[in-house]
Amino acid sequence: MREVMTKTMARNVFYGGSLFFIVVFLILSAQSVSHIKNVSTVHSELTESVAKGKRVWEENACINCHTLMGEGAYFAPELQNVMNRWGVDDDPEGAFEVLQGWMEAQPSGIEGRRQMPQFNLTEEQIRDLANFFLWVNKIDAQGWPPNEAG
């Protein structure tokens, strides 16, 4: 090994190579941003309500029980396709009503069943959250999840 490569050579390969891969990564990142903006998330309009729904999702740390697009905690169901699962993915009013019913029923208090907290969301917050889920459901995620179970 000593004959094949000196420390200086190893160092130069490290710096040079890393720089190369960073540049490639940044170029692909730029292309991906454009793909997201122009291709994969254009099937539904990103309204102000959707943006507010995302805040509701974040402020209540939903990701620390649920997954969204497969990322998060694995304690509670996947929610990217929740509106699909509930059969209301093309019906904003229905989506709101089902979600409101669900949120108001928590926690279930059933013994031996995982509990979702009562978040005391306002009607407007629930509407925004429902719109957020409807929007997320329309992201083109290369066919993931494999089925309705999420």
Partner: protein
């Protein structure tokens, strides 16, 4: 201790160990909720406990890295730290921020406030004021360490360490960028999470390992430093484009499935190299260092990192596999062993090495320390096996057969009970480790007894 200012590392390691205890206790609690779902459900819901579990892990690992840097940079640079005072100020800011985070998560007094309320993206849930505090503390740290290095001797170990630390701080700035578009949000969120644990943190880990092996084995610096550059080169060559394995199903282009599969498969190479490097150096080395526990942790870290990060990572990184396993207990299994092997163990290794020096005495409680290694490593391995089985069953039932999430989870109860038992062993091991570091106690096996045998 060659340089007085190395002493600041002691305070960092102390706080790190306290948070380590908080982290594993949080894990035990969360694991118990999987077994008894009604436990604490109204008082301290699962999501809050999980935030405490993950956040305290990240903070204590970072404190360990900072402490390691403050310990090894003076020795490498052959001069005192630029300012020990600044190092304590930095620690105070981080402790204040950590306390603030705990209060914010548990009591949620400022929900929705842009400055004081929690932000709620996974792992970077800290309120904005804490994030700003982290940046200030990090800048103080970089200033302090960089000044020390610039004025002193420059070695490959400090080069790589500094590069890793600068990189991780700069990448953290993406925590302030939260686009309304979820796909964009996720894409740049991975700039922090992936490029930390599969990029910059690997640089930090490799340089700490190199420092330890240099001290423990007595192998020639030239050899160790050449290896260090080769290892971190393979880490970044595979890890940067390896980010692609998180870009399969979040609205990013399809080509990431191939780029991610190919490059993240190569991510096993740096971990294999670190493991082989550690063992080869120990075999080649002629020095018989008295701190056997530090050697055990160093070898253990590189080995468990190879299995946890390397093998378990490869297990579900190919996009054809990941399509079914994404976001199941398989991910949890990999995450737990990877973090334990790579970053927890390397921190415990440097703590084990540095503590006797910082306290100015011979290594003590080596037997207890080594027992804690086997208890924790055994516990984490069993936990990983159990979660892997749970994840395999879950993947088949939920992703292939399409059964409802909660129905599948109820079928996994036995695995979760065993996981909790494994977690209890880890907590015991952690307590034993902290005790072995802090409480002086006569060795069970005396030096003369072991020499006779």
């Amino acid at each position: 201790m060659k340089y007085q200012s190395q002493k600041v590392a002691y305070a960092y390691f102390l706080v790190a160990m306290i948070l380590f205890a908080v982290q594993v206790s949080g894990g035990l609690l969360a694991g118990w909720i999987y077994v008894q779902p009604n436990f604490l459900s109204e008082l301290l819901p699962f999501n809050v406990i999980r935030m405490l579990h993950t956040n305290s892990l990240i903070v204590w690992l970072l404190l360990g890295f900072f402490g390691a840097a403050y310990f090894l940079v003076p020795e490498e640079s052959e001069r005192e730290l630029h300012s020990p005072m600044l190092a304590y100020v930095q620690l105070a800011i981080l402790v204040l921020g950590t306390a603030g985070v705990v209060v914010t998560y548990v009591f949620d007094l400022f929900a929705g406030n842009w400055l004081l309320g929690k932000e709620g993206r996974e792992f970077i849930e800290q309120p904005v004021w804490v994030k700003l505090g982290i940046v200030v503390a990090a800048l103080i740290f970089l200033y302090n360490i960089t000044m020390t290095v610039l004025k002193g001797r420059k070695t490959a170990i400090t080069n790589v360490l500094l590069l890793g630390l600068w990189g991780l701080v700069l990448l953290f700035l993406f925590a302030f960028y939260n686009p309304e578009n979820l796909a964009l949000d996720k894409m740049f969120w991975w700039y922090i999470v992936h490029l930390w644990v599969e990029g910059t943190w690997e640089l930090v880990m490799a340089s700490i390992l190199a420092f330890l092996l240099l001290k423990l084995t007595g192998v020639d610096r030239e050899v160790i430093e050449k290896w260090l550059y080769i290892i971190v080169a393979t880490a970044l060559f595979s890890g940067i484009l390896g980010t692609g394995h998180h870009y399969y199903w979040i609205g990013t282009p399809g080509y990431w499935q191939w780029i991610g599969s190919v490059f993240s498969s190569l991510e096993i190479i740096p971990f294999f190299a670190m493991m082989s490097f550690s063992f080869v150096m120990v075999w080649k080395g002629k020095r018989d260092h008295p701190n056997k526990a530090a050697l055990l942790w160093a070898l253990g870290a590189s080995t468990v990192a190879f299995f946890g990060a390397g093998v378990w990572g490869f297990l579900h990184t190919l996009h054809g596999v990941n399509y079914y396993t994404h976001g199941t207990q398989i991910t949890a299994a990999h995450g737990h062993l990877a973090f334990y092997g790579a970053y927890v163990s390397v921190n415990l290794a440097i703590i084990t090495y540095a503590m006797p020096i910082l306290k100015g005495r011979d290594p003590y409680n080596q037997v207890l320390n080594m027992a804690s290694f086997w208890l924790m490593t055994g516990g984490m391995s069993f936990m990983t096996f159990v979660l892997t089985f749970a994840g395999t069953v879950q993947t088949h039932m939920q992703r292939v057969l399409g059964e409802n999430f909660m129905d599948v989870q109820e079928g996994l109860g036995l695995f979760y009970i065993m996981r909790w038992g494994a977690g209890a062993a880890v907590v015991l091991g952690a307590i034993l480790f902290i005790y072995a570091q802090l409480a002086p106690r006569r060795e069970v096996i005396s030096r003369s007894a072991s020499e006779e045998a």
